[in-house]
């Protein structure tokens, strides 16, 4: 009884004040979704809720919950929110269905580049892109007469000047928290130096010149960061920006809107976005391209899939984007790139463009190995070559266990 009431209350709160108003149809099939919990997903699931009978779960732990929940029969959720990093286990286990027929039926408003095609079949619908870009305090840079840095060398030069001027706690912020965040930062720098992750035989290629350069560059940048940077993740860096403690950071585009949130930011209007800095001349910006989007479960009836897809289409339609223009870099028509998106667009349009983060099993294994082994280098316990060697060994061990390497 209590549970029923709670569920009802949850559904009611989702419907909000504009209940049923903005949805083109009235949904009668119960639909549940599980996705990440950042601003853009909140906007999308709120818009889905307007159709009725929609329950949305926004959970940052979605990546560990999703595979098992979708493998259940019937699946515990109809709609899943994924990114190119987290779609792999679902694809591998075959728990998400091809969407071509649904796209033909209800997807008239989708732009061609929203369709994530794998082996010719549409497996997901992207709604936004995400990438790191350089966020900087415009007031500080212009006060000190520093041009907006476009390369990491310039970032370090600018940092040195800011440090000398002593106008702020730390010139640079970084998402170097040991584990996933640190590994992502290494990946960014590594592709910036033109590194390739894998050889043709599935062995890893990180133990290379680019790997050494990437490690050295990250260590060099640490001189301008908070000494406790090895515990700082995206949210921590976002807060450091908001509290005026750092002047620059190569941070996720999805965090940009928070800078101008008057409820929690003390630097409204002062943080500007520029292209993710280049690691080397003629290279791509030191970042990877990501997308976020929706998938539909395999283990549900076609009727449910139908309803889920229609609801999802309502969630990522033009109306939603117009109401939440700055929450993300939307791929949906109606999006007007604002001031905050300039950095991301410059990053994505740069030639050569940064690569898309590879959604493969090998990459998952390598990501873990990097996240566990790089800290020893940054704390000074191990040199660059030994660190890359350790990454290679850790990857080889887990790849063998997964049956990828013989």
């Amino acid at each position: 009884m209590m549970l029923k009431k709670l569920a009802l209350a949850g559904a009611m709160s989702l419907m909000g004040s504009t209940a049923f108003a903005a949805c083109a149809f009235e949904n009668t099939v119960p639909v549940k979704s599980l996705s990440a919990g950042f601003e853009a997903w909140k906007a999308v699931t709120d818009a889905m809720g307007e159709c009725g009978n929609v329950q949305a779960e926004l959970d940052q732990e979605f990546r560990t919950k999703q595979p098992a929940a979708f493998e259940a029969n019937p699946s515990l959720y109809q709609i899943g929110g994924v990114s190119n990093g987290t779609i792999t286990p679902l694809l591998n286990a075959g728990t998400i269905r091809p969407l071509d027929d649904l796209v033909a039926k209800y997807g008239q408003n989708l732009a061609p580049n929203q369709l994530i095609k794998i082996d010719g079949k549409v497996m997901a619908i992207a709604m936004m892109v995400n990438t790191q870009h350089l966020m900087y305090r415009e007031d500080i840079l212009s006060d000190l007469g520093i041009a907006v840095p476009t390369t990491w060398t310039e970032v370090l030069d600018a940092s040195a000047k800011i440090k000398e001027a002593g106008v702020i706690d730390y010139p640079l912020g970084g998402t170097l928290k040991s584990g996933w965040n640190l590994a992502q930062d290494f990946n960014n720098m590594y592709v910036g130096f033109g590194g390739e992750f894998f050889n043709d035989d599935n062995t890893t290629a990180v133990n290379s010149d680019a790997g050494v350069k990437a490690l050295e560059e990250i260590k060099a940048s640490m001189a301008y960061m908070d000494p406790e940077v090895l515990v700082s993740d995206s949210t921590y860096v976002q807060q450091q920006f908001q509290q005026g403690k750092i002047a620059m950071a190569n941070l996720w585009a999805s965090r940009a809107a928070a800078m101008d949130d008057e409820a929690e930011s003390q630097v409204v209007g002062k943080v500007k976005m520029a292209m993710a800095p280049l690691a080397m001349d003629g290279g791509s910006p030191a970042t990877t391209l990501w997308w976020d989007g929706i998938v539909i479960a395999t283990n549900i009836s076609d009727e449910e899939a139908d309803a889920a897809f229609r609801v999802a289409m309502e969630g990522i339609d033009t109306e939603m984007v117009e109401a939440n223009n700055d929450a993300a870099i939307w791929l949906v028509s109606g999006y007007k790139p604002g001031e905050l998106s300039q950095g991301t667009i410059a990053t994505a349009m740069h030639s050569p463009a940064p690569p898309a983060y590879p959604s493969t099993t090998q990459m998952g294994l390598l990501h873990t190995a990097i996240g566990n082994e790089v800290p020893a280098f940054l704390t000074g316990d191990r040199d660059a070559t030994a660190t890359l060697m350790a990454i290679q060994e850790a990857y080889t061990t887990s790849a063998k266990e997964e049956g990828i390497l013989k």
């Binding site: 599935n202 959604s359 099993t361 090998q362 998952g364 294994l365 990501h367 061990t397």
Partner: protein
Amino acid sequence: MKFKTFAAFVGPSIFMMILFIALPLVSVFVESFRNTYDLREQIEVETCTPGFLTQTCVTEVKNVPKLDEDGKTIKITEWTGLESYRNVLQMDKFWEAVKSGNFGDILQIDFWKALRFTLMFTLLTLPLVVGVGLIIALTVNNAARAIRGPVIFISLLPFIITPVIGSLSIYWLFVGDGILTSMMERWTGTNISMFAQSWTIEFLMYFYRVWHVAPFAFVIFYAGLQTVNMDTLESAVIDGANRFERLRYVIIPHLMPLIVFIALIHLMDCYRVFEEIIGFRSQAHVISLQWLTYDFLTPDDSGSRAISRASASAMLTMIGIVFLLILPLRRTWRDHKGGTH
């Protein structure tokens, strides 16, 4: 007692112990000797992903699991013998470091790094917990009766707090711009970063664990102090024994079984140190054996988990606990056998 009554009382507990302790242990033991993975095939896949305006399609060779007719992945299970243990212990690297004399290199291997910290943590906090617990117990025992209640209540508080919450609160007090760090910075005039190097993190961990567990030792000792034989104590006073001598020759021998008991519990608990690692986010500097197992078990973005290595690491942790417990257990055993009771 009739056997039937005995069985009715003990039965449920034994059943639970088999279900929740023995069976999982057996399965972990088995799991540590085998490896399960998906049957994969290499196929060329064209993946199209969005750029900002256009779509980029790349054709790449991917390792994709094969699905059977039911759409389930095909699992292969292989017996690997001691392979997982070898991968966790990395003995070849260990001996290499020993041979070359670079003992520091041993601590570059995750398992040994974790073992070093876990052992130090367990053995260093043990005497502190016993000592601090005893001091609190003696103080409370000698305190005026009127204030005993409130004093007991306050000294018990740290033990009531959930370990994760406790370590998180210590973290937020001492992190870069935490309240205590800011106070210390104003006081000393220097920039303090407690979480920037491993020794300060370790120090906070020891401090936290002693603060958290000492109340437990205190309660046990306090109960023990109530049973000290007053006659013996009085005759000691008459014989001219001072406070310290009474403690050394009467009270501590009397409390010895309790000290061994606390040591047992503490060794078992401490060897499983985990909350501090998570709460203090110390993975970059300090890891523990339990955290290592957890890390193996955490699925990555592609959903892979190192289950066999996690099992091996869990078994090694258990073996470690058994080793640590042999000494105090032998003592209790001797006490029981040779006891006058």
